[in-house]
Structure formats: structure tokens, C-alpha cells
Amino acid sequence: MALYTPPDKPSSPRSQRYEAEENKGGNNREQDDIKKFYVRPSLGLRLWGPLVPASDNKMGLWTLIGIQTAIGALCLHRVRVLRASTKFVSKDIANIPSLNIFSKTHGSMVLNPINNSLKKPSSSNSKLTQFFNSPRWSTFKSVAYLLTGTLLLSQSLLEASRLKILKYDPWYEEARSVRDKKFFNDIIQFYHEGIDPAKVKVKDAASGNVMSTNIPEVKQSVALVRAQAEAENPIIKWFGPIEYKPMSFTEYLDRMEYHFDIYDFLQNKRTLKENQQQLNTPIAHTEGELDSIVRHNREVREKTKDLVKNTPAGSIAPSEVGSPGIPLRGIVLDTDQQDVDTIDLNEIWSLYDPWMNLALDTSLSIKFLPTVMAPENQVKQNQNDSQDDHETKTE
């Protein structure tokens, strides 16, 4: 394995370099991309048009929902303020002394408690401003605000419930899978593009020597790093792979309906199976089998603990312990890590994730190799006519 270090500035992240490179000659490509761009789907963010992020970009979706909700709330708030300003307090004239000095007549009049001092006398205004000052206009305004606010809030609610309530979201799954595929394609592309030795120098991590850029391992790791940088590109992070076309809303609904149907069917089947488990011949393990394995494992754990305590270190598997090299996927901690309790457990655990190790262990490539057999031999032996070799793929 080789470690890549950029040639001049060791600290500069390589992603920037590549972005800069691509931007130089990428104008034509960009135009093509825009031509091919399809608006990302959503349930309640359609008002955002082409700004809607990819369906697997939950952060982006929530951000837009947040902004949309805030605008909606603001609209409704405006309605309240407007209504407060147009709400005329109705009063009996008799209670306002200045108007009622000489009269004993009763009647109601309205007062505007807030905007009184702000309003200019209407006589100096044109008809248009008069219209804008008229209560009809403010009613219209408040209705418009009310409608917009309700619309925005209900849309936000719709999208939020898509994200929170829906357990199966075809758009999300599609976007996620497309992102993975794009990553794969990028690696292929960058691998075959090769490395321009003038721009990129690759050094051996151990010795610091400059390595040839034509070694497949070097090309692989550089392609991987470039693909990662491409995936981190903010535009691609937001929209997902630009050129893909998300499924239509009808297909979305169809898939959802299909899923619910089949899922219900399978759940019912499982419930039935659970009830009938005793009757059927076992197609999977039996309960007794599980119990005995659990018991067995518990005993093994106790035994191992005893064994480990009572035998000197390295006596069980002496080949591994104390051997000079680092074993395959062995944990290597920093030299300046001096104390057990200062280990960043999350980091080390995810770096040497047991599930990841298992994935590497179980990545097999199985091939069947036939050989020519005379029929008489085959009848006699009728065996070993195939060789299935289980070869672990090494990365």
C-alpha cells in the first residue's frame, strides 16, 4: 500500500486540487450537466424547484423544511399582526366625550388602536394609495398571508412526515443506491484516467521515496481518493449524481403500494409460521438448537477465561504473539498514546470495526473449473469432476 502525499503543500487537501483542475476545462461538461439535470423529487418541497436536494440528503431536506416552516410561521405571524392592526375597537360614541359633548345620541364607532398615529391623512393620497390603505386591501393581504402560511406549513408537515413516518421510501433508496454506483463508476473512471506524473507525486509511506505512478496499487488508491473527493463535492453531496433521473411520482406511489402489500403478506406468513412451528418439519434451526448453542457458548467463555488466566501469555497460539511483523488487520495505536484510558474508543472501534473485518473475510469469489473426463471414468468415479476453489479476494 502506498500513501499519497501531494507534491508541494503537504497540508492542502487534495480535493481542492482536483476540483480546481476540473473547473479549468470543465465548462463544456458543466453545460452538458445542466442540460441533463432533473429536478429532485419531494412531497412537500416542490416550491423550491431545482433546489430540492437528493432524497438521501436528509440534512438538506431538513434544512429546507426548516426554512419553509420558518417562512410559513412568519406569514401566519404577519396575519396576526395585520389583523391586530385592522381590528377596530368598536365603541359607543357616548363614551368618547370629545365627540359627544352636546349630544346624547348613542351609536358605535371603530377605533384603530395601533396605526392611528402612523397613518397620514387620507385627503393627500392618490386613489391607488387609498386603495392600499383601505381595509379591503388589508383583508386581502391577510388572506393571502394566511393562505401562503398555511400552504407552506402544510407542505412542511407533509415532507416532515415523509421523512419521519415513512419506513420505506423508494426515492430515498434509489438516491442512496445511485450515489454508491456513482462512486464505483468514478473509481473506474479515475483509475483508467491514470495519474499525471507532473501534477501528482506519490510517495511511499515508509521510506518517503517517490513511487512510480503506474503501479496498479498506487493507481487504485489515487483513484479511490479522487472518487472520495468527488463524492464530497458540495453540489454532488446536495443533489447526488447530477445526471440521474429519479423515478416519477406515479412510480413512487406504485412501489410504495407494492411494498406495503408484499410486506403485509410476508408478516402474516411469519406470524402463521410462528404459530405452526411445531407442526412443520424444521426449515431453519430449532429452539432447542439455539438454547444448546447459547449454553455451550457460555461454558466456552468461562473455560476460556480460566484457560487464559492459568496459562502463560503466548502459549495458546505462539505463532502470532511476539512475532516481529504486524499481523493482518492488527490494531496499531499511535506511539504517543501512553495510557489505556485515553484511547478514543469510537475512533479506534470504527477504524477496526469488527463488522468491516467480517465483510473483508467473507468477500469470496467462487469459480467452477470443468475438466474433460472420459465417460467411462466419470461413471466409475462420478466425483471430483469439479473444483470449486474458494478464493478470497484481496484488495
Binding site: 420558518a70 405571524h77 375597537v89 368618547i96 366625550p97 370629545s98 365627540l99 364607532m109 388602536p113 392611528n116 387620507s122 419506513k167 423508494p170 433508496e173 464505483f184 473509481i187 473506474i188 473512471q189 483508467h192 487504485q220 445526471e243 433521473k245 412501489r255 411494498h259 410476508l266 409460521k273 426449515i283 434451526h285 439455539l290 448453542i293 466456552v300 467463555r301 476460556t304 503466548g314 495458546i316 497460539a317 504473539v321 490494531i331 479506534i348 472501534w349 469488527p354 463488522w355 467480517l358 465483510a359 467473507t362 468477500s363 469470496l364 469469489s365 467462487i366 469459480k367 467452477f368 470443468p370 475438466t371 474433460v372 465417460p375 466419470q378 469432476d385 469439479s386 474458494h390 479476494k393
Partner: protein, 477 residues
Amino acid sequence: MIKNGLKLATRLGLRVPQRSFHRSSILTNNLKSTIEKQHEQYHRKMKNLKIERWVFSVVGISALGYGVWYFYWPHHTFPVSVAKILRKGLWAESNKESFNYQKAVEFYINALEECDKVHMNPISDEYTGIELKVAEMYEKLNMFEEANGIYLELLYRFYDALNSPGKVSVEQRPDMIRRDLRVLIKSLEINKDLNVGKRNLLAHLLLAQEEILSRSPELKEFFERRKEKAKNIFQGKALASTDFKTFIDEENIKLNDGGYMILDLQKNSSAWEPFKEEFFTARDLYTAYCLSAKDITAALSCKMTTVEWMVMADMPPGQILLSQANLGSLLYLQGEKFEADIYQLEQRCGEDPSLKKTDVIIKSLRHLHRNRDTCLDMSHQCYNSVVQFAKRNSKLRFNIKDQLDPSVLQAIALSTYGMGVLNLHQGVLVKAEKLLKDSISLARETDFTELLKEAENELQKTSILKTKKQAEQPQPN
């Protein structure tokens, strides 16, 4: 108008007392108190508004903060007591204590017991992760039986969880199935009991298949198509080799602008994610199990489906090529089996010539001959599709060494070898020799040692046959 006039009057009236405050009277005092009340109301309202704004911004900021926390804070957290033990375990396992697995395993076992004490969810990532660690340590200490015990327990626990409705939420299922399949493959690698292995394979593959079916209408269509086909066969329409089609073409394997094989973004294969790699490995293992039980028919039908599904799942092109080549191998094996049957029947006829005239024998011989030819023909189609695809694609033809995925080259080498074996089988020795030599040079390039060995054996057979043939041929002159 009257209303407006009144409003204006009121407004003027309101202004009066402010300006001529000293001309106080009871009336203006009254008015003042009204105005003050209104002002007070207004101020209260403004105050409310301010509080409201405050509340809104606090809610907004906390929501944002929560969001940031949710996205950036690692969720992989252990309870403090468990974390303490795990750190010690990692320390012992690391270079700090020169990879002392013996000490580490004890810590990991203790951590597991601590997890039990704090009632951690036994199907959570954290719990199963520690179990895997223990198993890994067992393996490093050469305790493979013990490690397999853990894998089996995990396997059964996952299966039960996935099969009891409501225990695993819908969005977690695919990931859990992926883990289940990984543990399955691992346990099969260590496991010695063939029957248990096959039973587990079937049960867990079915589980994964159901999961795909619940998300993929395409898979349902596939099953319906197959049902239709089965009905046709039942009605007596024989399966001809013309019905058979291979999947290696430009329609199924997409090429990018540079001519390299890539995945098709437009093909919706999300139902197979994220466990498709594990799923197809497990299916291949099932095929291998069938083969070792000498059930070529089952192996064949499994592999045929696998190839078609791989295309549906949009697997990496190299895998599809390899799968198609493997299918060719299985078809060849099936063909050879038919040939062995023919040989057996003919031998019986040789012992008892009267048999040769019975209808049953004649019919079954005809049947066997036709089946053998069909299988060999289909096998040829499989291999040929891979070889021809490689020839059509200039990048594969000329830059064959420069492939990121070794399985591409392996598939081509295997197909070339298979073609050679087919030719050798049919006695076309010159062609067989050339193809086998080609495959040997390809196998050398990829370090495909198993193929290299077999190909050299076959080449030897070819040359022996060739010399034999030359010796038999009447010499000119």
C-alpha cells in the same frame, strides 16, 4: 364615507389632548385614560411579541443544534462501564502489548458480560460487535470450533429477530440482513456439517430473497415469468437451446465514454442494496454445496437464476462476466453427466442386445442425446458470449491487463479455458490447444493459479491425444 369621517375625527380627537395637555378637563382626562389603556395594551402586545420571538429563536436554535448534534455526534457509543473494559481489550490486542490476543479475549468476554448486566439489546451493533471480537480472538488463538459457536448463535439470533414481526423496524431490516448473510458465509467457511450448512443457507437466503421481493416489483415479475415457463414445460413444450439467452451484451453491461465497463445509474436496483454482494456470494456457496452433493441439476438452476438476478441487481460487470462463465462450466458438467448416462445405457445394451430394441431405451437414449447436445451448446454460448464481448470491447481486447477488477480478467481466462475444454471434448484438438494456451497466458497475468494448473493438465491431455491421433493416421507415402 361616514365611517371614514368618524375615523378621522377620532384621530384628530386623539391628538388634541396630547398637544394641549394643560387645558385639562374631566373629559380629556377620560380620553387620556382610554388612550393610556390602549397604549398599555399595545405595549403588552409588543412585549408578548418579543417573548414570542425569543421563544421562536430559542426553539429554532435548539432544533438546529439538535440537528447538528444528530448528524455529527458518533452514535456508536457504549455504556461507560463497557467502554472502560473495551479500551483495555483494544490495548491488549494492539501493538502496545505486542498483539496479546490471550489477554484481549478475556477483556472482551468481560465486556460482553457487562453488556448483559446493563441489558444491552443483543441484536444491536455494539453487542454483536463485541461478540464478533470474541470470535475473532478465538480464531486467532486457533479455537475455530469455539468461534463457530459464536457465529451460529449470532446467526440464529438474527434469524429469529428478523422472523418475529415487529422486532426489527423496516428501515433496519436490509442492514441486518446484510450482517446476517456475512455471519452465514463466515459460519459456512468454518462449519463442517454439510446438512446443517445447507439448511442454514436455504433458510437465510430465503429471508434475504423475501426482503428483496418486498421492495422489487421486478423480482415479482421474474417469478411470474418463471411460473409461466414452468407451465409451458409442464404442457410438454421442450426447452430448446434457442430459448436460452446469455446476458453478456452491451445492453446489460454499460460502458462509459472511455469504453470501460461501469454501472448503470438509471437502472433501479435499490431493492438489492445493501446486501447484494453478500447475497450473491451466499448463492454461489449454495451452488457449491449442491455440486459437492453431486446435485448438478440443482446447482445449475440456482446458478442460472443467479446470473439473471445479478443483471437485475446491477452487480459490478466483472462479477456478471464471471458468473456467466461459471454457468458455462456448470452446463458443461451437466452435459458430461448426460454423456456418462448415455455411456452407461449403451454399455447395458452391449451386454444385452435385446434391450436395444425396446421403446423405452430408444426413447431415453434419444432424450439423453438431445439433452447432452443442448447443454454443451448452451455452455458454448455462455463462454462464447464472454469471449466475444471481450473481443468487441477494445479496452478489454487491448488493455486487458489494465483492469481494476481482477474478476474481469479471470472471467475471460475461464471462458477461454472453457472453450478449450469444449473443443477438446469434441476432439477439435488444434483449436483446443490454441485456446488452452491462450488461457494459460491469461491466467499467468492474473495469478489465477488454480486455472493455470488445470489448463496445463488439459493441454497435456490434448497433446497426448494429438500424438495418438497422428500415430493412428495412415502416413502418406
